[in-house]
């Protein structure tokens, strides 16, 4: 059918302080589009459904294979990666909105700095540069633990879990689900475990693990199927033990 179209309804915003508004776009159908490739077409033909030439819709993307997290947005109300959202699978008009839990930079681009700040705060790395002696041989991790850790290592800091979390707000201190997966991941690494008390203390205060409300939306929407709620419960155990340790050792 030559007349077939792809219809979009996009929530746009010209700048961080500007008021949002909705704009409709249509483009000729062709099979195999994903949301990013469709947005690329609209960038080449920046014309809204009324035929007016407008500024092209701005969005963020990088890898095009659902591993970088940059193109996360609300697609028909669901937080997910635009590159992995196939137009043929979506109900039309396809409604695109920026993630609501992060400050909008422009149109579908949001400022995700807060998530990276959280990774710094929880020391989401293995400390190899220091005056201390690290393992003479590569440390051993059991194959079973390796396979569990692999699941947590897939986090791409896209923010979908935070978008769906009822405890995570732009104006709240809660660091959101994803950083807990990184605490879980790095605490279970033999060298990473040097920082265990630091990481656990970083999530024991306001905005930390106790601010989780167990709504478990995070694990439902995670595009990488990361067992976020397992990490949260495991850290509930680790923080309890750390707290008892603090009582006697501090």
């Amino acid at each position: 059918m030559a007349d077939r179209e792809i219809q979009f309804n996009v929530k746009r915003q010209d700048g961080p302080e500007a008021a949002p508004y909705w704009e409709e776009f249509t483009m000729p159908y062709s099979s195999g589009h994903n949301v990013v490739s469709a947005l690329m077409y609209l960038r080449e033909h920046p014309c809204n459904a009324n035929g007016e030439t407008v500024n092209p819709v701005v969005w963020d993307c990088n890898c095009m294979e659902e591993v970088c997290g940059a193109c996360a947005m609300l697609i028909n109300g669901v937080p997910r990666q635009a590159c992995a959202a196939l137009v043929d699978d979506l109900e039309q008009p396809i409604v695109l909105e920026p993630l609501s839990k992060f400050p909008v930079v422009r149109d579908l681009v949001v400022d995700r700095q807060r998530m990276f700040d959280a990774l710094l705060k929880i020391k989401a790395w293995v400390p190899v540069d220091g005056s201390w002696d690290i393992h003479r041989h590569a440390p051993l991790i059991s194959p079973n633990e390796q396979s569990i850790r692999y699941l947590f290592s897939r986090c791409m800091t896209c923010g979908c879990c935070m978008e769906a979390c009822p405890q995570f707000q732009q104006d709240s201190k809660f660091i959101g689900p994803a950083p807990f997966a990184q605490v879980r991941l790095h605490n279970s690494h033999p060298t990473g475990s040097f920082f265990n008390p630091d990481r656990l203390h970083a999530i024991m205060g306001e905005g930390g693990i106790t601010d989780c409300g167990n709504a478990q939306n995070c694990v439902e929407v995670c595009p990488k199927d990361i067992p976020l709620t397992d990490a949260i419960a495991e850290l509930g155990r680790q923080t309890t033990i750390q707290w008892i340790r603090d009582l006697f050792v501090r």
Binding site: A202, D230, R237
Partner: protein, 250 residues
């Protein structure tokens, strides 16, 4: 947060952690344990007014030692106040989104908050209506007579057609909040970690909820449908049963 809060020694966040864990703990011990005892002793009215009166007498034997009020205040009212104040504070940290994310755990997250509010309102009403604290203000409270437990409880509940539905709603809300609270307690403290264990324990919590809902409602059915006059117990014999049995000459 300050630099010190993610160090190996910990800082002010340990206090925040303690407060949140206190909220979690008070819900189970002593409040949840008290709820189970309360509903179970009430349900003995199904076995006959004398059985219920005997249970009440055993509790009010503490009155003769002068410790019942202390136990009530320290063991029930103070933990309840702590749990309620911290709980309302926790409510304010979240923004419910169950209409956008209709997952089971998110529905329970939402219900946990609303049943908390219903239960709190119901407890205030219930304590005013039945308990000695209700004798203070406003008039019409303090209907429960410990020496004439089944009759006075039935009279109080039958005093208005509104009271039975209020009690049904209040008991069901409290039991749901308790049963779901066990589930979240076990996650928060890191007892149940994986989705599978959480799923299995969820069925156990549901069973606990159904059992205590049945136990709670059974006493309400008896107290609502039985003529209070037939629930009369011999006052002196009953209230001095403990003392009489202790008399070696008897």
């Amino acid at each position: 947060m300050t630099e010190a809060s993610n160090g190996p020694r910990g800082g002010s966040e340990v206090g925040y952690f303690l407060i949140r864990r206190l909220h979690s703990l008070t819900g189970i011990i002593p409040i949840g344990v008290f709820l189970c005892f309360h509903l179970t002793i009430n349900a003995t009215v199904v076995l006959g007014p004398d059985k219920f009166q005997a249970g009440v007498d055993r509790i009010h034997a503490m009155d003769e030692l002068g410790v019942l009020k202390i136990v009530e205040v320290v063991g029930i009212f103070i933990p309840l106040a702590i749990h309620a104040v911290l709980g309302l504070q926790i409510w304010l940290t979240g923004r419910q989104n169950v209409l956008a994310y209709r997952y089971g755990a998110n529905i329970r997250y939402t219900l946990q908050r609303w049943t908390a509010l219903i239960t709190l309102a119901f407890i205030l009403f219930h304590v005013w209506q039945m308990h000695w604290l209700g004798g203070w203000f406003p008039p019409g409270g303090e209907q429960f007579v410990p020496g004439q437990a089944p009759k006075s409880a039935a009279e109080a509940i039958q005093a208005s057609t509104w009271y039975a539905p209020i009690y049904v709603i209040g008991v069901l809300a409290a039991v749901f909040h308790f049963a779901n609270g066990i589930w979240t307690f076990l996650i928060s403290w890191g007892v149940t970690i994986t989705r599978r264990t959480q799923g299995r324990v969820g069925y156990v919590c549901a069973a606990v909820g159904i059992v205590f809902a049945a136990v709670g409602l059974s006493s309400l059915v008896v107290l609502k449908t039985t003529d209070p006059a037939t629930l009369h117990v011999e006052p002196h014999e009953a209230s001095h049963a403990v003392a009489v049995n202790l008399d070696p000459a008897d």
